[in-house]
Subunit: 162 residues, 2 copies
């Protein structure tokens, strides 16, 4: 079991695009609707994963992740996960000793761009790049579990600007 | 992905106990309540597994199973799975070329004994041992997912005798 500490931010502009070190096309979906945990299937770059996370609002969550055959992941996404699936490209950007993951969503979540940083403890200091906007760690609408049920298309007109 | 064909029966008496080749103590629980699939965590004999099954009434189901660290399984059972957990001892009995698994339940399902046989195709012939009772493959009450929500304790008085 890993204790995951993530902080999530909106993105102000495209300056990060010049700094991308690698990128990954991701399809993911959820096998459940339980209140206390999520079970996610992900396929990316010919690999598959199952991910189990306790559901708590905020930055600290218990998380388990296991690699599974890519073909199993694709089958589960196509047959067992409730649509809409989350489809996004994840871009990796190094900034002052930390790795940022910038998710550019597609489909029903097109238009949404979110940057995440993973920390070793909740108060670990980090330097916020100039293209980082408002923090949304505590806002459940930006959880991927929620985006799979209530996609950005449905609520972006009500969202405050980054 | 494996296509699982299982048939499930009640057990008439204890004659099978003399024929047990090995046994295994199982704890299992469920991470979800989705209508179309179940996500099961199991620990047994120092090993752990995640199992994902499509939910269809009857004998044919899609199934995925992955081994995970025993400690992860125990943690998930204790913190993420909804009680009551399923606790049972599984006994393995060979009979005329087929392997029978006899589950003797404990806790809220104490008193329930169920025998399963796994087949390669739905109409594969097999010899029913004399201690096998009524078939319950099509009865969803005997699904382990259902036993975790509506345990035998709650309904055994209404169940017909084997």
């Amino acid at each position: 079991m890993a204790l995951e500490i993530e902080r999530k931010f909106l993105v102000r502009d495209d300056r990060w695009r010049a700094l991308v070190s690698r990128q990954s096309r991701i399809r993911q979906g959820y096998l459940n609707q339980a209140k206390n945990c999520s079970v996610r299937v992900r396929s990316a770059d010919g690999h598959g994963w199952l991910n189990i996370k306790s559901v708590t609002i905020g930055a600290r969550r218990h998380e388990y992740e296991y690699e599974i055959p890519w073909q199993d992941a694709e089958e589960m996404l196509d047959t067992l996960c409730r649509p809409p699936l989350i489809e996004k490209t994840r871009y990796f950007v190094e900034h002052q000793g930390h790795l940022w993951e910038i998710d550019v969503f597609e489909g029903d979540n097109a238009g949404l761009v979110v940057a995440e940083i993973e920390l070793n403890h909740p108060h670990e200091p980090f330097v916020k790049p100039p293209w980082i906007g408002r923090e949304v760690t505590e806002d459940p609408r930006y959880y991927n579990t929620c985006l799979a049920q209530n996609p950005y298309r449905n609520w972006r007109d009500q969202a405050p600007a980054p």
